[in-house]
């Protein structure tokens, strides 16, 4: 059951103020991911502690790096149920977990940070993994900056 929107709004804003576009409906997800063009990051947000203490701060750190995906998206698992399910339909064989982070190039997942890779790790370690993945993702593709 979704949490009170007042409670989760700061969790949404922690990402949107980084420039991450929130996708709250199936139509928004399809419009964003359906073209399968370029590089994209999809952050599957969550109310859980490892999203607050590790995953969201890690993304904030990683996005300070000059190389990043062309498109930055987020869906909120447990809140925007249909949008999250639709986004996961673009992840192929990768199983749902939240928080999690998918990196896609031309519609294919090329790196996936599962929840188990976030649990118990500090933001810096997760950010370092993300930055390495950003650089790999951008090989042969124009950077956002």
């Amino acid at each position: 059951m979704p949490y009170n929107e007042l409670m989760v709004r700061p969790m949404r804003e922690e990402l949107t103020r980084l420039g991450v576009q929130e996708l709250r409906s199936v139509a928004e997800v399809d419009a964003a991911l359906g073209t399968g063009e370029g590089t994209a990051l999809v952050f599957v947000n969550s109310v859980c502690g490892c999203a607050a203490g590790a995953a969201r701060p890690a993304l904030s750190l990683a996005l300070q790096h000059p190389v990043k995906p062309q498109h930055l998206y987020t869906v909120f698992a447990g809140q925007d149920l249909e949008a999250a399910a639709r986004a996961r339909s673009y992840f192929g064989e990768f199983q749902p977990s939240s928080p999690s982070i998918a990196l896609l190039r031309d519609g294919e997942v090329v790196h996936f940070v599962h929840r188990y890779m976030i649990e118990g790790h500090g933001p810096e370690a997760i950010a370092a993994d993300l930055v390495a993945a950003f650089e790999h993702l951008q090989e042969g593709v124009g950077s956002r900056e």
Binding site: C48, G49, G53, F94, Q95, P96, E119, G120
Partner: protein
Amino acid sequence: MAVFHPGHEELHGVTVVVEGASGRTWVGRYHETSDRGVELHDVAIHDPATATLPRVQWVERLRKFGIQVDEPVVILPPREAGPITRLAAWRAPD
């Protein structure tokens, strides 16, 4: 780094591998250990009698693609629950 669940064990909410005395392997989010045993949530189960992949390859596949849930909740009785390792730290035996 601590997990943010005050009042719970350190592993609460963490995805772990439990090696069962039966030869089965259980991968799921650790909830707690009580008199009834070890409680896991969103659990993938490897049973060597029916599995299509050897255990090591099965765990490696979970690490790459994530947990394909077989059971929402499993309580492993104390006689079954063997070593518990974080999935992120799990290594195949030599």
